[in-house]
């Protein structure tokens, strides 16, 4: 039987024509859609450029050092603790550029212990300059507005009076960063710019109770380098703290337990939340420093799972006693 010619060749021709028309229409529509792109001005900062990993600020020859200063005067206590480490001049050389990563998270009065105490900021800044530092910078990415937090906590005025520069975080200072082997800090905005301006990094923070993590000490202090909606990490608080320990390898950390926030952390709000523990711990192993600091909160390292995770990740040791802490009296 002869086939109707319209059911063969014309159909194929029609199909080809319709497909071609549809393709041209789709291409034209795609071009219109792409026209909504406003150009590089909207590009996430630094997203396309490959940046190197953050520097390792530690001094290998100073590994495993930890000292404890006792006293009510932070200036004297930190001087004693750093002296027992061999003096800050053993860690900061002439011409060095030093970054002090403080805790300026809240617009909280210095006496409430929720932020790094201004006396400590000024004392360490001055010691850095005495050791020959060319530049000392102070920074944090506060939870509140930076101006209010740095000013009302006293950190800003203290830093400036001692000769340090205060860096308020700006969007351009953040890089999309990934920590190798991390599961949370992947393609996440991190305040990298200040870290890339310096060759020495010192963490300064108080000892505080924390509602979620159990404690806020030197490892938790690096949380202030995260940008974006970082509060989502509260659901994985111990993991994020451990990854922060992987991300940042400092020259030195100083944990201020002169007044320890025993309850209602991390914001506190009353002097009655504080206990005069008159202890300041300095060291090159932040995990060990935090393990020792746990005792000021009447806790053990075992009560703080992030310490074990950080140790497992190779960030330090919870067995601070094995490092032979040296005790010094401050005053």
């Amino acid at each position: 039987m002869n086939r109707d010619p319209r059911t063969i060749n014309p159909a194929r021709r029609d199909f080809i024509m319709r497909t071609a028309k549809a393709t041209l229409m789709a291409a034209g529509a795609a071009a219109v859609g792409f026209g909504f792109w406003r150009g590089p001005g909207n590009a996430p900062a630094q997203k396309k450029a490959a940046r190197p990993q953050l520097p390792n600020f530690s001094l290998p020859e100073k590994a495993g050092k930890i000292t404890v200063g006792h006293g009510a005067d932070r200036r004297k206590t930190v001087a004693a603790a750093l002296g027992a480490l061999g003096g800050l001049a053993a860690y900061v050389q002439p011409g060095d550029r030093v970054l002090l990563k403080v805790n300026a998270a809240f617009a909280s009065a210095p006496m409430l212990g929720a932020t790094t105490h201004p006396d400590l900021v000024s004392a360490v800044t001055r010691e850095c300059f005495e050791a020959g530092a060319a530049k000392v910078l102070v920074t944090d990415n506060p939870i509140g507005d930076p101006a209010g937090c740095f000013e009302l906590s006293g950190i800003g005025p203290a830093a400036r009076s001692a000769g340090a520069g205060v860096i308020y975080p700006e969007p351009a200072m953040f890089e999309t960063y990934s920590v190798p082997r991390a599961v949370l800090i992947r393609q996440w905005p991190v305040l990298c710019a200040p870290l890339r301006q310096v060759n020495k990094l010192i963490g300064l923070c108080p000892v505080k109770d924390h509602q979620r993590s159990g404690a806020s000490m030197t490892l938790k202090n690096w949380y202030g380098l995260l940008g974006g909606r970082r509060n989502i990490f509260h659901q994985e608080i111990h993991t994020i703290i451990a990854e922060l320990a992987m991300m940042i390898v400092p020259t030195l950390v100083i944990l201020d337990g002169t007044q320890t926030m025993m309850r209602n952390g991390p914001t506190g709000g009353s002097l009655d939340d504080l206990k005069a523990t008159h202890t300041l711990i300095a060291g090159t192993d932040p995990v060990a420093v935090d393990a020792m600091g746990a005792g000021l909160l009447d806790k053990t390292a075992g009560d703080l799972p992030h310490l074990a995770l950080a140790e497992k990740a190779g960030a330090g040791t919870v067995d601070f006693k094995s490092l032979g802490p040296i005790t010094a009296e401050g005053g």
């Binding site: 789709a26 859609g33 909207n42 996430p44 507005d145 006293g154 909606r229 914001t267």
Partner: protein, 363 residues
């Protein structure tokens, strides 16, 4: 039978009209545009853009990325920073207090952004019926170096406000008469007014801080009248041995048991012996009884040892929990008992007193 596959009629004319073809083309084009826009936007996702914007309109500091050091003879102190913060007009009647000037516009936070202000402490409020937080800072007109910050937490009910108030109560605090639930610490005033929990935290401990603090608190209370608070359950705690200001309300997961919600507790101490009494009003006696049984089973699952039940009108579950004692019972629709009594004799005496008090209420 063969079917024509062409979209043309026998005369060669298309079965699809021009109008239909145009509409189809536009729809297809629109879908493609949408798809391309989504792909382009998604490829440019930047988590840093998702940071919650600050409500504070004050932008102190300079535009310079690094603030240069100032001469070393500049005096230290918070007063230096306050001068840089410009005042904002007050627009709420309860903010207009003599002796204080607002430093910023009110900042408001909801459940999604609460942790942007109080960080890890947010969970305490979120689990207790949190609705909104408003904060504002004030400078002292007569004392330039002093300032305070006021936190107004709006909870879903009085019990939620009392819960967060009681669970954060500072030891050694002094009772305040501003409301029925209020205390002063060295530098702050903390109170409950209906569904509101207020914290007024000053930057200093001098006597100068108090008149404006109390005026600010009183202004808020006066502008937010509420009906008398309901604390029926906690009113039944025996007075003998009760530690002052120790009554607290746990809205969820009391004593680690997920079914224990809305539980009032109070601390007791007789010389060196301590115990905690607890009371929770349930919907009806059968629910209270079921909860008592469930809690006893929960303790037993964690290796608590059930002891003999004393000869009472209604059964009490008495358990040895690794050297301390839990006594659990229900009285009418009240679920109650004693938790972690260090000595059984004191624990049983307290439980009997509590049961008697609740029996009187149930009649």
């Amino acid at each position: 039978m063969e079917y024509p596959v062409s979209m043309k009629d026998p005369k060669g004319k298309s079965l699809v009209s021009c109008r239909q073809r145009a509409i189809g083309g536009l729809l297809t084009a629109a879908l493609v545009v949408i798809a391309v826009v989504i792909l382009v936007t998604q490829s440019r996702w930047d988590p840093s853009r998702w940071q919650a914007p600050a409500n504070d309109t004050q932008k102190g500091g300079s535009d310079v990325l690094v603030i240069p050091a100032t001469p070393a003879d500049t005096a230290l102190g918070v007063g230096d920073g306050l001068e840089n913060l410009q005042p904002s007009p007050s627009h709420q009647a309860w903010d207009q207090v003599t002796g204080l000037r607002p430093l910023n516009a009110p900042e408001r936070y909801d459940a999604l952004t609460l942790s942007d202000k109080i960080n890890g402490k947010a969970e305490l409020y979120l689990s207790a019926g949190f609705q909104m937080l408003e904060t504002r800072r004030f400078a002292y007109a007569d004392h330039p170096a002093l300032w305070l910050e006021r936190y107004i937490y709006t909870m879903d009910s009085y019990s939620g406000a009392f819960s967060v108030f009681s669970r954060q109560r500072r030891p050694g605090a002094t009772a305040s008469t501003i409301t029925g639930d209020a205390y002063r610490s060295a530098n702050g005033l903390f109170l409950v007014q209906g569904p509101y929990y207020l914290e007024l935290i000053a930057s200093d401990t001098s006597e100068a801080i108090w008149p404006p603090v109390e005026a600010l608190a009183t202004a808020f209370v006066d502008h937010h009248p509420v009906s008398p608070s309901q604390r029926d359950a906690s009113a039944f705690f025996p007075q003998s041995g009760l530690v002052g200001n120790s009554i607290a309300l746990t809205t969820a997961n009391a004593f680690g048991f997920s079914r224990l919600d809305q539980v009032y507790s109070a601390q007791y101490q007789w010389q060196d012996v301590k115990a905690t009494a607890f009371v929770s009003q349930r919907k009806n006696p059968s629910q209270a009884a079921a909860l008592a049984s469930a809690y006893a089973d929960f303790l037993t699952e964690y290796d608590a040892r059930a002891l003999a039940t004393p000869p009472l009108d209604e059964p009490m579950y008495v358990l040895d929990v690794f050297g301390t004692f839990d006594i659990v019972f229900h009285q009418g629709s009240f679920f109650a008992g004693v938790h972690e009594a260090e000595e059984l004799e004191h624990g049983m005496a307290l439980a009997r007193q509590l049961k008697d008090n609740l029996k009187g209420a149930a009649q």
